[in-house]
Symmetry: C2
Subunit: 667 residues, 2 copies
Amino acid sequence: MSNTDITGTAKVVFMPSGRRGDFPLGTTVLEASRALGVDLDTVCGGRAVCGRCQIVPSHGEFAKLQIVSEHNHLSESGPTEEKYKRIKGLKDGRRLGCQSQILGDMVIDVPEESQIHRQVVRKSADEIRDLEIDPVVTLHYVELPKPSMEDQRADLERIVAQLAQDWGLDGLAWDIQCLARLSPALRAGEAYGGEFKATVAVRGGREAIAVWPGFKDRVYGIAVDVGTTTVAGHLCALDTGEVLASSGMMNPQIRFGEDLMSRISYLQQNEGSAPELTSAVQAALADLVTVLAGEAGIDPQEVVELTIVGNPTMHHLVLGIDPTQLGMEPFPLVLDQGSSIRVRDLGLPVNPGGYAWFLPCIAGHVGADTAGVILSQAPHLTGEMTLVIDVGTNAEIVLGHKDRLIACSSPTGPAFEGAQITCGQRAAPGAIERVRIDRETLKPRFKVIGSDLWSDEPGFAEAIEGAGVTGICGSGIIEAVAELHLAGIVDASGRMQAKGLEIADHPNFRAKGRNFEYVLHTDDERAIYVAPGDVRAIQLAKSACYSGTRLLMDRMGTAQVDRIYLAGAFGSYIDVAYAMAIGLIPDCDLAQVASAGNAAGTGARIALLSAKARAEIDRVCRQVEKVETAIAEDFQEYFVAAMSLPHASDPFPQLEAWLEAEGLARR
Amino acid sequence: MSNTDITGTAKVVFMPSGRRGDFPLGTTVLEASRALGVDLDTVCGGRAVCGRCQIVPSHGEFAKLQIVSEHNHLSESGPTEEKYKRIKGLKDGRRLGCQSQILGDMVIDVPEESQIHRQVVRKSADEIRDLEIDPVVTLHYVELPKPSMEDQRADLERIVAQLAQDWGLDGLAWDIQCLARLSPALRAGEAYGGEFKATVAVRGGREAIAVWPGFKDRVYGIAVDVGTTTVAGHLCALDTGEVLASSGMMNPQIRFGEDLMSRISYLQQNEGSAPELTSAVQAALADLVTVLAGEAGIDPQEVVELTIVGNPTMHHLVLGIDPTQLGMEPFPLVLDQGSSIRVRDLGLPVNPGGYAWFLPCIAGHVGADTAGVILSQAPHLTGEMTLVIDVGTNAEIVLGHKDRLIACSSPTGPAFEGAQITCGQRAAPGAIERVRIDRETLKPRFKVIGSDLWSDEPGFAEAIEGAGVTGICGSGIIEAVAELHLAGIVDASGRMQAKGLEIADHPNFRAKGRNFEYVLHTDDERAIYVAPGDVRAIQLAKSACYSGTRLLMDRMGTAQVDRIYLAGAFGSYIDVAYAMAIGLIPDCDLAQVASAGNAAGTGARIALLSAKARAEIDRVCRQVEKVETAIAEDFQEYFVAAMSLPHASDPFPQLEAWLEAEGLARR
């Protein structure tokens, strides 16, 4: 309570919370907000240093609130506030809550950016969903009396008492690494004036994890997606969620095997080799966080929290847990719940008191990446029957709504990544990514990555000069197969057949034994074509994905989904209509089918910013029902039926109507 | 509840606790003990594997207990118990509590070794005080159903559920390193039979810190005393307290300075050098634990807990905390409370899930070593006014009783360790450790370390052949000075004076300028003698010690102490009568003055075995009043008065009486 010579009390209403109370005249707005539990931010604890507690006094008569509020019911701006305004600036109408005293009844608006639990609003598909920040790590500035011969309390006891007094932080644990930095921080802080001054980072209100000299008002976190092929991270400000840097690099585990199964085979064949794979991926994460901090221009010591998503094998390997058993029936995880691990136990060169929070895993083949996808796409918050598929060498599939979620994993293989395809390649400049085949002439046109022009448009040759046309990537092969089918060159069973087609001397048809290949492009260096085996590979992959989905729909007792999200790098690039045209996904209103971008990574970012989101996804993952495709009796049946394009028995009326409307009707 | 066809209930009384209850016939003794909270040990959880739950059924009529007990009120020994008896043996009259069913009213004796909280009885001065073991780490054997396609629970979830069911351990935290070993432990345990079988070490009932395949019934701890000069440790079984190995080595920090102050000077002059000193001492501790495990013949992974004592500088350096501020007024500690630190944060090669518990520090110069001394000598548990002095280059002094403790540190310097003494040396073979001077002839006789003979006894020359007589150690110089004083050669002020003595041509008196030296021994190689400066050095050291004590007595308002303990390596070797004769300690009944051995290390062993003792010493240390000798106005005054032998103004009537009785009266 500040000193004041005014007596009496005033009625105060905080908006938008509507919390109200009576306070002695002279109470500061910050004090009143704390007393009422109003969400008003502060890092400096009321010393006019951080400027986080800005409020707007409201004028006029508020009949609904039964209050009359006038501007002059707040004390005039004093020299401390004026100094802040001069140095850091203060918008018109804004006041510092810690410096403004209540002198009469009033309504006080707390702007969004003055709230600790501020909203982050979704801006694009790749952006995180609307989210209320619920900080895992908070900053607390304190000023302490220095020790003297009369007051020889230990540094720790001293600062613990001050944090309890100023911030109500009782019973704080102190990490030893944070403690080792306490004394230098306090004594470096002496430069700031006659008292010890320091800022302490507190995690979950329970543990002091980092300390800095003087005043500090921002710390950072990194959300990491550990993929089998690449590791990628976003560095964010923990108070606003702003992304300051994004980067990715290869997962160096690739030297132990290209894909997941080959790495598990390596582990099985080389007993005791798990630490090697752990070291490799932890070293990559260490490099990644260093690169990210460099890009963001911050000290890695300012990074105090990470979140990590990844498939179960990556999840376990990053943690130093041997995942060999994940490759053997019954595929049990070692750890499934969301877990906080000290960064120094992972060898990450950020603030050593910090933690990495691993999102929960769901089952042996449905990992923390899927948990991230769920958190990002939030099927558990909607009433609509939602299907989310993260397509990679495995498809992780989640189906359901707010009352029930069900999940499985299905082994699609690497075809969608361009492997096992004759002219296949990874998505990179020069790769064909879009394909159209004229229903009459049977001639193709296409687009390659790196150019916006179709191959039959003027300037295409110039546009691709240099890179050339080098192969077909995953999205390209899906469109090629779909168009071959729609054009009548590939029948519903997936056979390439020329019956009834004029293909004699056709430049795009090339005989190969008793079969033929369809040539998309020829130049001096190479021909890019689709072979019968390529169609078969795509059929197998899409069938694995579809039959997993169909199994879940069957278990859920639904024949129809309301909404579909395709997640993952591959899922972001494919045209959802073509995905449906080959029967990778079930029939659905195409307006309700969307790419979700790197939803797993987005989920990691959400978890980075919100303790509530962590609790939410941990709870949801424990409730997700797992379906094990490997032992589901009907899976094989679904698989065989799903080999057809788009499917042997499931109707696709919405797809057909869309093809009709788009003029893409089948020949 | 075991199957039985008997109905009805029986009254059971457990002794020595006297706990009683009624149980359905057929209840096992172990079950009944758990229901009543009786202290009956088990590691295997009732599977007749560990044999910890042995009990003795009592016969006869127990009027006081209102019960009639007969042997046959316990079920006969069945095949499981017989198998145990055959393999591991079972004393006559003993039964396994987990296998014996209650069939009627009975009295059951729980022998000492079947109690978890068993007593450890003091056997010698260096032994720990009578102590009830209160284990910090407990072992829990579990058998789990293996995962199947129908039960795919994660390994962690599986074992957590079993530990909750079998052992009532709810909400256990799991260290990540323990978790990383869980899956291999469970699967190695497959060799033991059809289920997963493992033993989990749980710390404080809250965290799983280690796991082993199959059944395991013992883990170990190490109590470490980190001295400025040496580091020493005892490896103990955590269930019995038995010491399996003891070892010590030099503190390699010696290369940064011989004593504490020179190391703090090094730190002050070399900013940022604290990590160097930390690495040095942590490396020594790592070596020490490896040596101890080797000596005890155990796997270092079986060591799951350590306790550490040391002066404040060592305490901080082992923790990685820069102690520079401890050398500067106002000497504030960074950390004072007792603290658990994960061993891997200290680089100790024991089980990585284990912890080291650092005993609390009391003040900037009164550290965890003094806390250990208090725990060992327990002045806080007695009504007698107790003085405990840990004599080293600093004397840490504690005075008081159960209602009040008061402590200080006083800089004695290295004279007691033989440094700053002309012929001084460390305590080692060849060093003079005992001295007597004939009051008439003024001739000395002495004993050297390594021989039990006095120098004037037959065979002495042969006994010391090889080592020879090389110098005087700390206890030797104290006796020499005391005897010189008692023989009238050194006056009360400490001056060597020949007035009234027949020293002309005396072989033991050697002129040196205007003074003389007193020669204890001469041979071909050297003369061992006491110089006037040596007496002065001892006066300064003992005066520092005495004046600190006197200051505490003054603050306590007492002129008399009831009991004195001298702790530390030096304190163990000096003859307490001579310590009093020079005025190192105040007057006291000599029967009540004793050496306490390495009391700091003993305190560390007590803390290793008992969680209750940890809570006790943490509480006591927070209540100890600290007296800062450096700013106490009366300290200088006490210091000057204490330069006299034994003291300028304090009377020593009990000492005088004792000297008289022993025939050691002063000349």
